[in-house]
């Protein structure tokens, strides 16, 4: 039985007439026309479909669109602000955090949620956070580096510090990056 469904995605209402079995990822890609969110598997394994549901990263291929009604969904299209890349997107670009780019939207959403919660995550913590997002290309090194770089940039923007403190922060972040 189809029904009319309105979801809030990136702050905008999107309406579609769908069956309850419509998966959120398909609503996002087909009803809302936001194709940044990818589908990489049939088995809830890859995380390419990661979106934020009320700020928490979840696999949108394993959630029915009806379940998301009334909740706030954020997709990769919601990261950039007025044509300016999100610091995480900028950092993925600069640190070569992607090759084919298939996993990237999911990685960005998981990374964004992590940095929202933990402005200064250690390498271990970053690796743990992205452990549900598979990347078949990069070997993860540059993804971790990009998230660290974005964390630095976002802390810098949030709390302008004196040159001395800034250098100390950068040094400790660099040390964090060398933990095996």
């Amino acid at each position: 039985m189809k029904r009319e469904l309105t979801l809030t995605i990136n702050g905008q209402p999107y309406t579609g007439v769908v069956e309850p079995r419509r998966l959120l990822v398909h609503f996002i890609r087909e009803e809302a026309g936001l194709t940044g969110t990818h589908v990489g598997c049939d088995t809830t394994s890859c995380g390419a479909c990661t979106v934020l549901l009320d700020g928490r990263p979840v696999k949108s291929c394993t959630l029915f669109a009806v379940q998301a009604e009334g909740h706030a969904v954020t997709t990769v299209e919601g990261l950039a602000r007025e044509g300016e890349l999100h610091p995480l997107q900028q950092a993925f670009w600069e640190q070569h955090g992607l090759q084919c780019g298939y996993c990237t939207p999911g990685m960005l959403m998981t990374g964004a949620a992590l940095l929202e919660r933990r402005p200064d995550p250690g390498e271990e913590e970053i690796r743990r956070a992205i452990s549900g997002n598979l990347c078949r290309c990069t070997g993860y090194q540059n993804i971790v580096r990009a998230i660290q770089e974005a964390a630095r940039a976002m802390r810098g923007a949030a709390e302008p510090v004196s040159a001395g403190q800034g250098a100390a922060g950068a040094a400790s972040a660099a040390r964090g990056g060398m933990v095996p």
Partner: protein
């Protein structure tokens, strides 16, 4: 893959949800986090005609210790168990379990209660909560009933729940003084089900003798298992190395793993032995340090 068509209901209260289940009988299924049910529906292993979504019922996400019992509501997610200071400080067995269930994205949706009802012998919560001596509360048209988790878990993917019942609470006895727990899991990679895993909860008297031991085994039998002989053997003993070794052997003997891509029968049984020894040692260290 796309699931078969179904009708969706999102009741706003528990009595309404129970009434929907009663009315639709075997046709209906509860959906909580959907992290086991939706994959099963996508493979058409499950084809419920009606889904009763309990996520919009307020007040089902409680997680608190009251009068010597930890009460876990049916909408408490793995991630909440992992992040809760109460769980981290008082229930290391449960905190360690939460951190190795699936992956962080699945943990943001999947619930502890859903895991128990799903009753996958490779589910981590079954083994951990057997060790913790948990009980479950089921609510149906005739009211509530409470049973030991052990009696709830009947067989592979099979529990004692009726189609018109909802698991509404998991009850875990609060830890006694000088008690500790641990959960150890071998997995091929993050997000994989266990090759084998062992959860333990132990308590000691002032002389360091074990007063109670719970040992739960994951992925090595038709259901989550309790290693009863190992538990009985540990009672009254100090955790000397030979004692732990023997308990490990008894736990291994209680397991009945089957060979699959994760390992041979012999390998899994030996992992049960090793994990039991290590988990007991870790739990004892925690119990006696506190």
């Amino acid at each position: 893959m796309i699931p078969a068509a179904f009708d969706y209901a999102a009741p706003g209260s528990l009595p309404e949800a129970v009434e929907l289940l009663r009315r639709h009988g075997e046709e209906a299924k509860v959906i909580a986090g959907g992290q086991s049910l939706i994959p099963a529906m996508r493979f058409r292993l499950a084809r419920p005609g009606v889904l009763v979504d309990i996520q919009r019922i307020p007040g089902l996400d409680f997680l608190a210790e009251e009068e010597g019992v930890l009460r876990i509501g049916p909408l408490v997610r793995h991630a909440e168990m992992e992040a809760s200071p109460l769980i981290r400080d008082r229930y290391p067995l449960l905190a360690e379990t939460a951190s190795v269930v699936a992956d962080p994205l699945v943990r943001n949706l999947g619930t502890v209660a859903g895991s128990l009802v799903h009753a996958d012998p490779a589910g981590d919560w079954g083994a951990a909560l057997l060790a913790a001596r948990a009980r479950v509360v089921l609510t149906g048209p005739g009211g509530e009933r409470e049973l030991a988790l052990e009696d709830f878990l009947v067989d592979t993917f099979t529990t004692a729940i009726s189609p018109d019942e909802i698991l509404t609470e998991i009850r875990v006895p609060a830890p006694a003084p000088r008690s500790g727990g641990a959960y150890l899991k071998i997995e091929r990679k993050v997000g994989d089900f266990a090759t084998a895993a062992v959860g333990v909860q132990v308590a000691f008297d002032a002389d360091g003798r074990c007063t109670a031991a719970g040992v739960g085994l994951c992925a090595v039998g038709p259901t989550s298992l309790r290693a009863r002989e190992a538990e009985a053997f540990l009672a009254g003993k100090r955790f000397e190395p030979e004692v732990l070794e023997r308990a490990g052997e008894l736990a291994a003997a209680a397991s009945s793993p089957v060979a699959d891509t994760r390992g041979s029968e012999a390998y899994k049984r030996d992992m049960v032995r090793i994990l039991t020894v290590r988990a007991l040692a870790r739990a004892a260290e925690r119990a006696l340090a506190a």
